[in-house]
C-alpha cells in the first residue's frame, strides 16, 4: 500500500513536519503498519517536545534587563564617529610627520653643509704637506697648470704684493667633479690656499661670504663657472686683501 519505504531523512522531516502533505500521509500509513519504527519516531518527537518545554523561557534575561535597541544604535553611531575621528587624527599625524620629516631632512642637510666646507678640509689635509701634484714657485707655471685643467678660469693674480709666493697645486675631486687646491706661502712659512670647483647639485652657486672654522678662515664667492674659497689662518690680516685680489682676478 506504500509506494516506497521512507528514508531516514524523510522520517526526520516527518517529525519536524517538513514533508509535503501527500508524502506525509504515505509515511503516516507506513508507520501505522510498522509499529517498531513508529515507536522510534514517537520517541524522537517526545524528546523534542520535552526539550521545547524545558527550554521555554530559557535565556530570559534575569531581572528583565533588556538590550535596548535605541541604545545599541546610539553606541554604534558614537563608535563610528570615534573611528572616523581617529582616522582623521591618524591622517593628520601622518601628514604632519611626513611634512615635518621632509623639512627636517632639508634642515639637517643644510645644517651639515657649511659653504665650502670641502675647501677648509682640503686646506687642512694638503696645504701643509708636500703632497702636491706640482711644485711651482713661478706664478706663470701655476697659471698654466690651472689653465690646462680648468679652462674657464680667469687670470691668477700675482700675490707677491701680499708676500705670498706659489708653492704648488693639487688636483682633487669630490662628488661634484674635479677641484683644485692652489697653495701659497709667505717668507715665514705661513700658508694660504685657493680652492675652486664647479657648482653642483649639492653645492649651489652661493653668495659671497666668509666664516671662521677653528683656526682657519674661509672667504668664498662664485664667479664664472666656479665656486672659489680662500682659506687662510683666522688671524691673518692679509686674508681680506688677498681674497679681494683673487676675486677681481679670477
Amino acid at each position: 500500500m506504500t509506494r516506497l519505504i521512507p528514508s531516514e531523512d524523510e522520517l526526520h522531516a516527518y517529525v519536524d513536519d517538513r514533508l509535503a502533505p501527500a508524502r506525509r500521509a504515505e509515511v503516516q500509513a507506513w508507520l501505522a503498519a510498522n509499529p517498531h519504527e513508529a515507536a522510534r519516531i514517537e520517541a524522537w518527537r517526545s524528546d523534542a517536545r520535552r526539550l521545547r518545554a524545558a527550554l521555554a523561557g530559557f535565556g530570559e534575561q534575569p531581572g528583565g534587563a533588556q538590550l535596548d535597541l535605541a541604545q545599541v544604535q546610539r553606541r554604534l553611531r558614537q563608535r563610528r564617529q570615534r573611528r572616523l575621528a581617529s582616522a582623521a587624527v591618524l591622517l593628520l599625524a601622518l601628514g604632519v610627520g611626513g611634512l615635518g620629516g621632509w623639512q627636517a631632512r632639508q634642515a639637517t642637510w643644510a645644517g651639515n653643509e657649511l659653504p665650502m666646507a670641502d675647501a677648509v678640509q682640503a686646506h687642512r689635509l694638503f696645504a701643509g704637506s708636500e703632497a702636491l701634484d706640482i711644485q711651482a714657485s713661478d706664478p706663470t707655471r701655476l697659471r698654466e697648470w690651472l689653465g690646462s685643467h680648468f679652462n674657464r678660469v680667469g687670470q691668477l693674480p700675482d700675490l707677491s704684493g701680499y708676500g705670498f709666493q706659489p708653492v704648488g697645486a693639487r688636483l682633487l675631486s669630490n662628488e661634484q667633479g674635479p677641484a683644485a687646491l692652489l697653495v701659497f706661502q709667505d717668507r715665514h712659512g705661513q700658508r694660504i690656499s685657493l680652492f675652486l670647483r664647479s657648482p653642483g647639485d649639492r653645492y649651489q652657486r652661493m653668495p659671497d661670504g666668509q666664516r671662521v672654522d677653528g683656526q682657519l678662515e674661509a672667504r668664498y664667492w662664485s664667479h664664472g663657472a666656479y665656486n672659489f674659497a680662500l682659506v687662510s689662518a683666522a688671524d691673518d690680516v692679509r686674508g681680506a686683501g688677498v681674497g679681494e685680489a683673487l676675486r677681481l682676478g679670477l
Binding site: 522531516a13 519536524d16 520517541a43 535565556g59 534575561q61
Partner: protein
C-alpha cells in the same frame, strides 16, 4: 528590525540569548555574543526581511561570531601553551549554566551532546528553522544537516534512556 514592537523584540532577544547560552555555556559570553550580533545586524540593515527570515539571519550572524570567537580562543590557547601554560578545555556544559541544567532532568541529556549537535537541535526542533535555513546558519551542506540531525537524535535518545543519570553533572576534563 525596527518594525518589531516591544514584545517581538523581547522574544527575539530571548531566542538569541538561549542559542548563545547553549553555545558558549556561560552567561557573560552569551550576552556579549547577543550584543555583538545585534550590533552587526544593525550596521548591515541593507534589506527588509520578514520576521522569520530576520530570525534565521540573526542566528546565522550569531553562529559566525561564535565560531570566530572560538577560533580566536584556540589561537590564544595555542599561544599560551607555547608559553608553557596548560590548555584548559571543557567540552561539556559548565560554568554558571550548570545550575539551571541540574534543576531540569530533561536538559541533562541535552547538555551532554556536542556543541554542534546542540546547535542543530536548537535550530530545528526549538526555533523551527527549515533544514535549508539551518544549513545556511551553520554553514554546512544540507546532507550534513540530515546526518548530524540523525546522530543528534539517536544520541539524545541514548542519553535519555540511560537515565537515571548520575545526580551531579560532571565536567569532562
Amino acid at each position: 528590525m525596527h518594525d518589531l514592537d516591544e514584545q517581538q523584540w523581547r522574544e527575539l532577544l530571548q531566542r538569541l540569548r538561549r542559542f548563545a547560552l547553549w553555545l558558549t555555556r556561560e552567561t557573560g559570553s552569551a550576552d556579549d555574543l547577543v550584543q555583538a550580533t545585534v550590533e552587526r545586524a544593525l550596521s548591515r540593515r541593507d534589506q527588509q526581511r520578514d520576521e522569520e527570515a530576520l530570525r534565521a539571519w540573526l542566528f546565522t550572524i550569531l553562529y559566525r561570531l561564535f565560531l570566530d570567537g572560538k577560533r580566536r580562543e584556540r589561537l590564544h590557547a595555542r599561544w599560551l601553551s607555547w608559553f608553557g601554560r596548560a590548555e584548559q578545555d571543557c567540552e561539556a556544559v559548565g560554568g554558571n549554566i550548570e545550575n539551571i541544567v541540574l534543576a531540569q532532568a530533561d536538559l541533562q541529556a541535552f547538555a551532554h551532546l556536542s556543541t554542534e549537535q546542540r546547535a542543530l537541535l536548537l535550530l530545528v526542533s526549538i526555533e523551527g528553522l527549515s533544514y535549508k535555513e539551518a544549513a545556511e546558519t551553520l554553514n554546512i551542506p544540507i546532507g550534513t544537516v540530515m546526518s548530524r540531525l540523525s546522530r543528534a537524535r539517536a544520541a539524545l535518545r541514548d542519553l535519555t534512556e540511560g537515565n537515571p543519570k548520575p545526580p551531579a553533572l560532571r565536567r569532562l576534563k
